[in-house]
Subunit: 416 residues, 2 copies
């Protein structure tokens, strides 16, 4: 009953069709924005613009991609499809041939064109700003900067942006803010400030803004640091809305406390467990949350994948099922089907931990010195629900379950 109707001017990206925008469209991905953060800020009167838009526009939720990590979800949003299609199932995978853990930051690992690149090819003017540079190369892939109809840069390396590589230079002067620290709320504020400036001057038809979850890893809904973040965000929401754009906001994943009552992280050290039960080297645990910026989560999340010989996989699942706090322990086949993951970028067993627990390798491998607050993290099923908020009403077809990676569809096709 659902059919893709391709009209003359619609633009196809990865098998989905998008209408050309009648007015500017701004899509915001608020990293780690668990439902409740915005509501807590509204309750204290700190977010009047969001309060108003959520009443007059649309306020619903959507499901993110599992693993509920930043890169798989940002790439799903920018391609409109799950990791099975775009290939980015985490920050790392294990290359069985070379025996190396390979980082998937490079644009070569992305298997699908981005919606922004397809829009630009069809004559739509586009812009993208992301907090961390690790995402910029992926999200900005395929954009043609020579044409003057695309901008893409990161807050982190705003000072290094060039016309050739980013479609813009002298960004600090353009935005009017100093280069922010990587570990700061300022890194995200820079994204919003840049977005407002770009909307006013470059006037893109479609813009994607993606923040970092530094604050959300440290502070839960209603906490002072979180309220301050959403108060800041709300000011920019007001500015963007006042500029007359269609504004749709979602998140890459949620965020939950993952610690014991005493404040220590509640960790299942899975490599250690498997080494003890199966012998060292029988299984290799990969934590795809691991990336070069681990200070705020110590590489601890609720998703892990295990590489092991075939005869070990059943026993590994049995061991996992016996561990308190494991929500899911399944073979790769089932995981690829259930979570729409790329078979060659995932291990042989996939496991997810419960709401307040994370999965680690072994204690010595995790540098937790950067954890100044009790651990909050993500990766599991319990961080799958995220907000979907728009400054216009939206019409979702009967029977359809929204995903966060429907956000371009929502903004371009489903707004009324």
């Amino acid at each position: 009953m659902t059919s893709q109707t391709e009209t003359g001017s619609d633009i196809i990206a990865n098998g989905r069709s998008y209408r050309r925008p009648g007015k500017p469209v701004v899509i915001v991905c608020i990293d780690g924005s668990e439902p409740g953060y915005i509501e807590a800020a509204i309750e204290k009167g700190l977010a009047p613009n969001l309060d108003r838009l959520m009443k007059t526009g649309a306020n619903t939720t959507a499901l993110c991609v599992i693993p509920s990590f930043t890169n798989p979800n940002n790439l799903s949003i920018i391609t409109g499809r799950p990791p099975a299609v775009h290939g980015i199932a985490g920050n790392f995978f294990y290359d069985r041939e070379s025996g190396e853990e390979v980082m998937m930051n490079d644009a070569k690992f992305l298997r699908a064109p981005t919606i922004l690149a397809e829009l630009q090819k069809a004559g739509v003017k586009v812009a993208m700003v992301t907090a961390k540079d690790k995402l910029r190369t992926l999200l900005g892939k395929g954009l043609d900067f020579a044409s003057g109809s695309a901008i893409a840069f990161s807050s982190e390396k705003a000072d290094k942006a060039t016309k050739d590589d980013n479609g813009i230079d002298d960004v600090l002067n353009f935005v009017g803010l100093p280069l922010p620290e990587v570990y700061s709320a300022d890194l995200s504020e820079f994204v919003f400030a840049a977005g407002v400036k770009i909307l006013k001057t470059f006037k893109p038809d479609v813009m994607y803004l993606s923040t970092t979850d530094y604050v959300q890893h440290k502070a839960g809904p209603g906490a002072k640091l979180a309220d301050a973040f959403y108060e800041m965000f709300d000011r920019y929401v007001g500015e963007l809305d006042a500029l007359g754009c269609t504004l749709v906001m979602t998140a890459d994943h949620g965020m939950n406390d993952k610690h014991l009552a005493n404040g220590e992280p509640d960790v299942i050290y899975l490599q250690e467990i498997l080494d003890k039960k199966l012998g060292a080297g029988a299984a290799r645990v990969i934590l795809p949350i691991t990336d070069p910026y681990v200070a705020h989560h110590g590489s601890l999340g609720s998703f892990a994948t295990v590489y092991a010989d075939e005869d070990k996989r059943g026993p590994i699942i049995d061991i996992l099922k016996g561990i308190d706090g494991i929500d899911v322990a399944i073979l790769a086949d089932e995981a690829c089907k259930r979570f729409e993951l790329p078979a060659d970028r995932i291990g042989d067993v996939v496991t997810l931990s419960s709401k307040n627990k994370v999965i680690g390798t072994s204690p010595a491998k995790h540098n937790l010195s950067g954890l100044t607050e009790p651990l909050r993290s993500h990766g599991g099923l319990t961080e799958q629900t995220v907000p979907m908020i728009a400054n216009r009403k939206i019409e979702v077809p009967a029977g359809r379950t929204l995903r966060n990676f429907d956000v371009f569809d929502v903004a371009l096709n489903l707004v009324r």
Copy 2:
């Protein structure tokens, strides 16, 4: 990009469009069929028909409705829409006016027409068989038995079926099996045996078969009782498939162990906790899993809703968030939005427990004498993934997340 194309002969039910079937369509809801049951039976060679169909047809998963209980999901399947549309959010709700706990078994509580009734009105011949009679009145609502183009009965009361009320009489003789016990695998086998006989003789265009999870509450994937059930099921799958129908199978919800290592149910007695912290009578905990057949689960599931005055709701959520094993604790507004629930059939706070825990009221209120095995139950997010299996290939539009209540859409519109 998704649009409902209404062709001359398509049939609309609750805002969704269904094609008239070219050949007979059989939809099976296997109650409590957590992913893994079928696979375990296949691995032992007990389910050769399912093994074959899952390879040559379609084998994927879908998300069920929360609460992951039988009635909300069966009604979602038969209407094609979530509980917000059809009104059945559980077996019970609390009527604030009368102060009574009201059972939602009666067909008057169903707010949407069934797909079967809409199909019949459009000239399609339909049949429905369900295990327990509590579901029969809801699933069979709106069918016109006088016309001779509909059959609907339950295994439980197969001996009581009449032409006037069920479109068929003398069912025991028709099926050729004795009346099964309510607490038995036979109750579900009777559904399948009846389905095969109906398909051969009554020759409906569309048939819905819905079983009971007696076995799944008692035995996990690969356990003897479970394997025997799926071996039996597989025989009927073979028969149905051989009769040339389009066969699509899903489940109403999954099923997980909900007990401690010693075999005792792992229960959060929430009424007791709230009474202690807020004073007796401040909050009323409703367990919508409660029904007249509680022997196999003792009314213990992973979903509860709490009725309380406005000033108590925040404190209740805070208390819930402090309890180990609570995955979700949210206000009704958020729950209705997130899980698409009907606002007037749900309490003021909605809470879900984690994979291996259930929520009870107080110990004295639960009769656990019927629990002959360590508790297995459902209701939460961890029982949301269910199989979606078809004997033909299916084509799911890009970007769409399947729900179990898409099963009529899958069978009538998405098979190739």
